[in-house]
């Protein structure tokens, strides 16, 4: 039998590598500030992806970068991580991470 492919659609899926095993806690993959999925975007952006990236703290907490920066820029934040109130230090982007 001979098959002629006339057209095809490529389908791809992506997700941020947060370093956490997302299968363990599928409901927990939201930014703690806006409560939108990491794979979504912060409330001021329209398109998820590289234009609305995540930011990692040395304390291991993850947020939409825009959400975190909005918080850190207020005086009431005292430059602290919203989760543990430790001074926010942005971690180097983990390449490869622990995701297999």
């Amino acid at each position: 039998m001979k098959v002629n492919v006339k057209s095809w659609h490529a389908v791809a899926q992506w997700q941020w590598d947060t370093g956490n095993d997302q299968d363990d806690d599928p409901e927990g993959d939201v930014c703690g500030i806006c409560r939108v999925a990491y794979e979504g975007c912060c409330p001021t952006c329209k398109v998820p992806g590289d234009d609305c990236p995540l930011i990692w703290g040395e304390c291991s907490h993850v947020f939409h970068m825009h959400c975190l920066l909005k918080w850190i820029s207020t005086s009431s934040s005292k430059q602290q991580c919203p989760m543990d109130r430790r001074t926010w230090v942005t971690a180097e982007r983990k390449v490869g991470g622990s995701k297999t």
Binding site: G32, P43, C67, W71, T74, S76, K78, P82, R85
Partner: protein
């Protein structure tokens, strides 16, 4: 486009409506994303047995980056709990409503904190500066610079 606060509050409201409130807390009114009301009572043994209070949350468009304005309702025959951190006009001196607010907190988290603040009360009394404060208090408790120092208000 809906404001940042409206999107976040819509999510919180959906969660409340699908999962319900914690025991002792009930949603009274949430017609918009500007002001919500809850009833709050302390379950089990406490100094506030049988008392039901009403909490008013007011949100600005920067919530949750900016904290909600939270107070007890003292109109329409409602009263504020007699507590060392609660003024008779309903204003509350609680650090998480002020300098310890965090945008990962939520309306329900605030309700639970206030519920446990009442539950752990040892003596029903007003803050020592109640009269002076209430006389000059702003309408919005967020405009008050409370001094948080542990047990005394």
């Amino acid at each position: 486009m809906a404001s940042i606060s409206a999107r976040r509050l819509a999510k919180e409201l959906h969660e409340i409506q699908t999962e319900g409130c914690p025991v002792g807390i009930n949603l009274l009114q949430a017609d918009d994303f500007a002001a919500w009301q809850f009833t709050i009572e302390v379950m089990g043994e406490s100094l506030y047995q049988g008392e039901v209070f009403t909490l008013l949350f007011r949100f600005d468009k920067h919530y949750p980056i900016s904290s909600p304005a939270v107070q007890f309702v003292v109109t329409d025959g409602k009263t504020s709990p007699v507590h060392p951190h609660v003024y008779s006009n309903g204003h509350i001196c609680a650090s998480i409503l002020g300098n310890e607010w965090s945008p990962v907190l939520s309306v329900i988290a605030v309700c639970l904190t206030l519920q446990s603040m009442l539950a752990s009360c040892k003596k029903k009394e007003r803050p020592p500066d109640n009269d002076r404060y209430v006389r000059h208090a702003p309408d919005n408790p967020k405009k008050t610079q409370f001094h948080y120092d542990g047990n005394s208000p």
